[in-house]
Symmetry: C2
Subunit: 320 residues, 2 copies
């Protein structure tokens, strides 16, 4: 086969539009982008789609966990075959298709957290869904990596037909000028960012009381501590239930195994621990399907008890 | 937004060509196929692509493990949140792009093992690669789920430009008429199937001695026991190495945790145990990246020691 023929064959699919130019010696171009980060699964009559946004390799310092030392953190990273002092923080949003509505829980980073994240819209497209087809956006909390996807970098709304639902106490905290005036550093940036995203949407955003049903079968759960109004969600369909844990449990090697660890990400450490323990114990007791925004893609699985803590058992990739 | 507009938006991508027809009440069509089972990763200068073929939900009986009872097997299945008496056997082939050559290790089931498997060619296409672009096919052993992808159901070659390499002792065993004449049941079917696939290719197939380098940087490893000539592969590029373990280690919850278990799949149980222990210990000692044909997709990760056995630590999904 001539290399020209081979090239034609290899370029048969759209994926390969992104392949590197062929070096003179190489017959087989190397792909430069990952395959779509899209994974579909079912819950009763609902179809769930995990949509990968990417990962941030976050450097961590000795104070990353308020109540554990750096060596203990590095041991857990090593147990996951990860290098020390760097935490991979991946981002996976959850799309719920109720059959009548498309509900997106959290919105990705819009490329504003790390260069290696921001793929949510590409993956939504790969899943065959345009942003304009989303009916409802439910926000767990106002950290930038969960809300930045609502707008383009130039400030345009991305999900032009979607109603946006946010936890009332989250809105109350982050949109309060007094709270902002007392904030410094990263926290101040989060306040400013919340205003960038929501400042001109006050009339459109619907605020819900934690505990309320936010969409058919999707019930919010107060899971405060990570932020003052942080919510998780229980999803129910056809007699089946799952937990979308949001940031109640983040990296499983660190925070499912050590639910009492208090990372600096959690604004109220002890309150977040209480929410985390309750969530993990509920998942383990009921052997529920769970997903979480920062679990490794496709970010779904089960929670097993393990000593003083818990372990994520990833769900096995399946055909539909 | 009218449902017509929504429909147009939703049909923007090729994926949705497979979506169900819209029921009258539903605005959001439910996808009927999984997203592509394609995952790319790197080893030195090589690009690896995990290509998912599907899964067979295999009923298992009390004799499935020769030296463990059914209750012990069901306990491990439960630990993986799987129902008793059914083993999900997933199939993932590995494509190695050396930059100059495309080498495919094993070929999927071609839909002949289970209705829920046979997607390898679809996923190869989703990865932007035509079957005719494959330069080399390396076969680990002659069980149908590894070789059936070489031909269509009607007997045509699928990878029309590929050289096919098989382990010499595997060829010698399965193509021997005396051995076939002594076989019954499933084993007899495997003999017949090996002839269906290879009978008219004897002049084309290149047989290698286990231990030989079968392609640049891909070195075969004798791992006999599962079948008489079963091979695994070490892959080396740019100072990095990984193990493609083939069927040396199958379902990780059963056989990484209990490497001494002897499933009826292994023709020579004790010999397979020896190969499995050696492979797992090598992976754990050297903290090597591994993949295996029957691991859950994307079928790659690391092996950690765990008590008397080992544990698969799945690699985290990453952008390229």
């Amino acid at each position: 086969m001539t290399s020209l023929t081979r090239r034609a064959l290899l370029q048969a699919s759209a994926f390969v539009a992104t392949a590197a130019a062929l070096p003179a010696h190489a017959a087989a171009p190397v792909a430069t982008v990952q395959a779509p980060g899209v994974y579909r699964y079912s819950l009763g009559h609902y179809q769930l789609t995990a949509l990968y946004d990417g990962v941030w390799q976050s450097p961590i310092d000795d104070n990353f966990i308020r109540n554990a030392d750096a060596a203990a953190v590095d041991r857990e990273l090593a147990s996951a075959f990860l290098p020390p002092r760097v935490l991979p923080i991946s981002f996976t949003a959850l799309l719920v298709n109720t059959g009548a509505k498309l509900v997106l829980i959290d919105t990705g980073t819009a490329g504003q957290t790390a260069d290696s994240a921001g793929a949510l819209l590409d993956n939504l497209k790969a899943a065959g869904i345009a942003p304009g087809a989303i009916d409802t956006i439910v926000i767990s909390h106002f950290h930038p990596d969960h809300i930045d996807g609502l707008k383009t970098k130039t400030g345009d709304k991305v999900f032009v037909n979607a109603e946006i639902l946010v936890p009332e106490p989250e809105w109350a905290f982050w949109m309060d000028d007094g709270n902002q005036s007392r904030a410094t550093g990263t926290l101040f940036r989060y306040f400013r960012n919340a205003r960038r995203i929501f400042g001109d949407l006050a009339g459109e955003v619907r605020r819900f009381t934690p505990g309320a049903e936010v969409a058919p079968g999707i019930v919010s759960i107060a899971a405060f501590g990570h932020t003052p109004g942080h919510c998780a969600f229980a999803i129910h369909s056809g007699g089946h239930s799952m937990l979308a844990m949001s940031d109640t449990v983040r990296n499983p090697y660190l925070f499912a195994r050590h639910p009492r660890w208090q990372p600096i990400f959690d604004m109220d450490g002890p309150q977040a621990v209480k929410a985390r323990l309750a969530m993990l114990e509920r998942a383990a007791s009921d052997r529920m399907l769970v997903e979480a925004y920062h679990f490794p893609f496709p970010a779904c699985g089960y929670i097993a008890r393990n000593g003083d803590g818990y372990e994520l058992v990833p769900a096995e990739w399946r055909p539909l």
